[in-house]
Symmetry: C2
Subunit: 346 residues, 2 copies
Amino acid sequence: MSESAPRPTLEAVAARAGVSRATVSRVVNGSDGVREPLAERVRRAVDELGYVPNQAARSLVTRRHDAIAVIVAEPETRVFADPFFARQLRGISKELTAHDNQLVLLLTEDRDDHARVARYLAGGHVDGALVFSLHIDDPLPGLIQRAGLPTVFGGRPHWNGGEDGVRYVDTDNRGGARDAVRHLLGLGRRRIAHITGALDQTSAVDRLDGFRDVMADPDPALVEEGDFTAAGGERAMRALLARRPDLDAVFAGNDLMAAGALRALREHGRRVPDDVAVVGFDDMLPIAEQTEPPLTTVRQDIEEMGRLMARMLLRDLDRGTAPAETDGTGPSGVVLPVTLVRRDSA
Amino acid sequence: MSESAPRPTLEAVAARAGVSRATVSRVVNGSDGVREPLAERVRRAVDELGYVPNQAARSLVTRRHDAIAVIVAEPETRVFADPFFARQLRGISKELTAHDNQLVLLLTEDRDDHARVARYLAGGHVDGALVFSLHIDDPLPGLIQRAGLPTVFGGRPHWNGGEDGVRYVDTDNRGGARDAVRHLLGLGRRRIAHITGALDQTSAVDRLDGFRDVMADPDPALVEEGDFTAAGGERAMRALLARRPDLDAVFAGNDLMAAGALRALREHGRRVPDDVAVVGFDDMLPIAEQTEPPLTTVRQDIEEMGRLMARMLLRDLDRGTAPAETDGTGPSGVVLPVTLVRRDSA
DNA sequence: CCCGGCGGCGAGAGCGCTCTCGCCGCGTGC
DNA sequence: GCACGCGGCGAGAGCGCTCTCGCCGCCGGG
């Protein structure tokens, strides 16, 4: 049992079908130029023997692996605290398997891992990379760029301005923030506060920018930096209430912080949404539905984001041309739309 | 740039160091039998050229891939609704990278995917598999067994009784349930209800068994089947309240259902923990901390579970012997301990 | 009827590595 | 001092595949 029969080779199939290896190869790889009766004989031999091509041998000559790396830089545990990651992976996985590509997952935690990842990528095991790098000081993007691998980023990378043609897929963080704040204005709120995410991440910065777009010249006392965690949101909310007890709405940079803010508000006897309206961001389930009251928030389609990243990368690979250049056929970055989901908190 | 220099081969390193390919191979693979001055010369040549072995060529002859597949069967979206999956992956990833193995992720959703997975595994791209299969009717375990690949399951598989030597890592669901119920008894509660998980999953069955262990002969009216979701927990709680308005405690099969139960209890004006004490299972963060009140629950070390699965598989691979047999060096299955985390709900 | 062209197929080289085998040079024992 | 043994290293085969090249047979045109 453990000593299973040796896997059949191309040679074996060729022998059984009475043809040459080359012909079997042609049939297996679906190239034309094999006449029907012969092709059929080969196909029969293939299933009779249960032949499956040896990918290692194939890669050795084609220099393709039909595998892409998904690299998740995770200096903090944030990524794992929420289900984002899983959803994105799911989207990526769907798209990759639809194109017969494998997904090699690389999770990095500290600087040591970076070297390992760089080595792996340089080792030419994969045809491309999908990278989630959150923080501004992350050396990973640079390392990957140097490895010369076609790459698509999840979320707009920080140094986007510097290099051109960096491929990425992002959420419309700024537009979503504008929607959220406009919604609050529409409810008649005027003293609207904002709890930002960790400002070393572009998503947090973009959401803050969106807030500012609508609020024009917001009172600085109405902006407090959080860190994307519930505890951080709670702390920020308390600080805001201390400074501006008369605030009547708050736009939190994500749902986790909104949940924290909700607790602080409850603690201070503020009713939501009557006294203070709250809007979150992400529509992170089940959190957003489980808060008291359920959260009005900005929904992003995480799975679609993953799918799009994969699609973008595969297209670059197919084109086989300089991936680091925009060639007019597609934008360097794609920004996905968001939608406001109204629940009870605002 | 896109046309990067061709990667140096063993041959090139050998030429530069003035030795044969075989010698370079020996040095690179750390086998002894190369004297120091020579070995040093080879090492220098390796870094000067930036040589990285071609894994495809190596696999072709060694028949090892130093890669294992992680297969997540996910007929429903449950796995993605909670952060379990990510944590397990993290544990697996850590252990694998520590042993220079790659992680190939296969997400399956429907039956079509099964064929694809089976084909992939049969294709001999990986040395082993780690499988998360939740449901009782899942054909995946059978397919994998047939592929003859060394495999370790996450969670006790259903047909464990049938086949012997199936390797798995599980949480002490039954013991944890006992701890939870005993805790409630210790608080003086007597009319303790249980909301089960989906009973086609061993974890749900085991937790129910633990509940029964302690409650001896529980009133059937105090047991209601849920489905591991918050909505299901809410529904189940309502049913329980309708049947037994006098219940004074509830042990929910997981934290999500506990959160749902909390809502139903609030809706019915029951105070927690004063009127009804609630205990969950999993210690799923941030949910368990964010409920009102924060949840007393049974914590399992998810990351450790992943790590252990990987370790078990790698050991089986190293031994290189019949993976499907217990050989006395280790148990076929390992069950991880749990701990009760006291918060405010009980 | 003959020749050129073209399409279908086979032969063979070679991808980059590992590993066996055998050679050579040194040290040791008698 | 000579034979023998052993350890260090090189030569070469071969893993399973792809792909180029050239051969051969068939068809059409002159």
